[in-house]
């Protein structure tokens, strides 16, 4: 059981103020998203309808510290069908952002952030790659992109 005292009623409003989150309060819990979700079909921990309910109820910690928050594939199958125009993938992105900001960054994401800072892409371009590319007649790739690091640092995105 969860008591009302444990709920953070501002949580829903905070999500609604995030990009793409405005429509979250319109959700009437019809289940179209859950029935559409290709992830939920294979992993019952992830249910977008339930996640939205948890947000609207104010279950901040239960959502942000959860493992399911990282499971949205962002495929947009649900939002294409949502009858109330709720941008579910944007809401999931907002939740992931909030989890990151709260320090619950997923280790995989942390690794990706480091890669981006170092190389401007999520793969390191190794010398082997460029050699191979040249062999195949493809142009060499730039090894780094400082500007990506500037963006990330400016916005305080850290692993």
């Amino acid at each position: 059981m969860i008591t009302e005292r444990e709920l953070d009623k501002k949580f829903g409003l905070e999500v609604a103020d995030r990009y793409g989150g405005e429509a979250i309060r319109r959700c009437f819990s019809c289940g179209t998203c859950a029935a559409s979700c290709p992830v939920g079909r294979f992993d019952s921990r992830f249910n977008p309808r339930r996640t939205i309910r948890m947000v609207l109820l104010g279950m901040r910690d239960q959502v942000l510290k959860s493992d399911f928050v990282w499971l949205c594939a962002g495929c947009h199958t649900c939002s294409e069908r949502c009858p109330q125009g709720v941008h579910i993938p944007d809401i999931m992105t907002a939740l992931k952002n909030m989890a990151t900001e709260a320090g619950y960054t997923h280790p995989t994401l942390a690794k990706q952030i480091d890669l981006l800072k170092d190389f401007g892409r999520v793969f390191e371009v190794e010398e082997y790659d460029n050699k191979r590319r040249v062999k195949m007649g493809l142009p060499e790739l730039k090894l780094r992109c400082e500007e990506v690091k500037i963006i990330l640092d400016k916005l305080g995105v850290n692993s």
Binding site: V39, F42, A73, N97, I113, R121, V122, V125, L152, L155
Partner: protein, 293 residues
């Protein structure tokens, strides 16, 4: 038709055969590509950490394309398409967003006025080149091939972001492109099923289960090969095929080609230049059905 070629992160490293064949078919079909070395990540994976940072990374790429003086950008990866198209649309439709974006880009001397059109390679082939023009250039007979096309998610979704150029509930353009090569597109259940790529790093088991479902259905359809237009989808279905076979004790042997390889085959590109040997599931059985030279 001139496009800045947006390679993304995965294709130029793990999908060099995709990139190479894409360049080749573009050349044959009269689509000029321009390289912009300044392109970096489209921001898609980063959106998980900061939607705003991801937005700016995409905007940065658009500014880089504009700097190069090209009017359009073409992506190889569907996720790159989705994030670049989305950000482009937001910037172009909202003056304030454009101003704020430019304020941030000014940090490193970039500026974007909103002049770039962004499309996925397949959309360029379908919309700008056209199925008829492709058919007219077909040199090899692929009519013996049954191909299961996997359009993936971000190639068409969100529909509104992509101007609804294809039906999100019944995407047809990739099938039409497959048919243009002379091969027969097969229909199979759950064609729209997501590859699970975005979940791979977070929950491998779930991602593989998603990919397995698709491989099961494609296998059941009797297809000779699957066709993908996204390096991420290919990673799921091809690079991870062995892993899935092992985990579930099944056997697929299902080749997963990039559409550009299939198209190149139809257009008569020498087999060597189609880099089939770089496919981890070798399409030898499939190729045996095609008369090459």
């Amino acid at each position: 038709m001139e496009y800045a070629l947006f390679l993304g992160c995965t294709a130029p490293i793990r999908g060099k055969h995709y990139e190479s064949t894409a360049r080749k078919v573009c050349e044959i079909l009269g689509v000029d590509v321009v390289d912009v070395p300044d392109f970096a990540c489209c921001g898609f994976p980063l959106a998980n950490a900061s939607a705003e940072a991801a937005f700016l990374m995409a905007a940065r790429n658009l500014a880089a394309a504009e700097e190069k003086g090209v009017g359009a950008m073409m992506t190889l990866c569907s996720s790159c398409a989705a994030s670049q198209v989305h950000v482009n649309r937001e910037i172009r439709s909202n003056r304030k967003v454009m101003d704020r974006t430019n304020e941030a880009l000014a940090e490193f001397g970039k500026h974007y006025t909103g002049s770039i059109e962004v499309k996925h390679l397949a959309r360029v082939l379908w919309e700008d080149v056209g199925v008829d023009a492709i058919k007219a250039k077909v040199k090899r007979d692929l009519s013996s091939l049954k191909i299961a096309a996997h359009p993936g998610c971000h190639y068409v979704k969100p529909g509104e972001v992509h101007d609804c150029f294809d039906d999100v509930e019944d995407p047809k353009t990739l099938d039409e492109l497959v048919a243009a090569t002379g091969a027969t597109p097969v229909s199979y259940e759950d064609k729209k099923l997501c590859c699970g790529g975005a979940v791979l790093g977070f929950e491998e088991k779930t991602a593989l289960a998603m990919a397995k479902q698709k491989l099961d259905l494609v296998k059941a359809s009797g297809a000779d090969a699957m066709v993908s237009i996204c390096p991420f989808c290919s990673v799921m279905y091809e690079a991870n095929q062995g892993k899935i076979e092992e985990a579930y004790d099944v056997e697929y042997g299902m080749p997963v080609l990039y559409y550009t390889q299939l198209l190149g085959l139809a257009l008569g590109v020498p087999e060597k230049e189609l880099w089939f040997r770089m496919n981890s599931v070798k399409p030898s059985e499939m190729l045996a059905k095609v008369v090459i030279e």
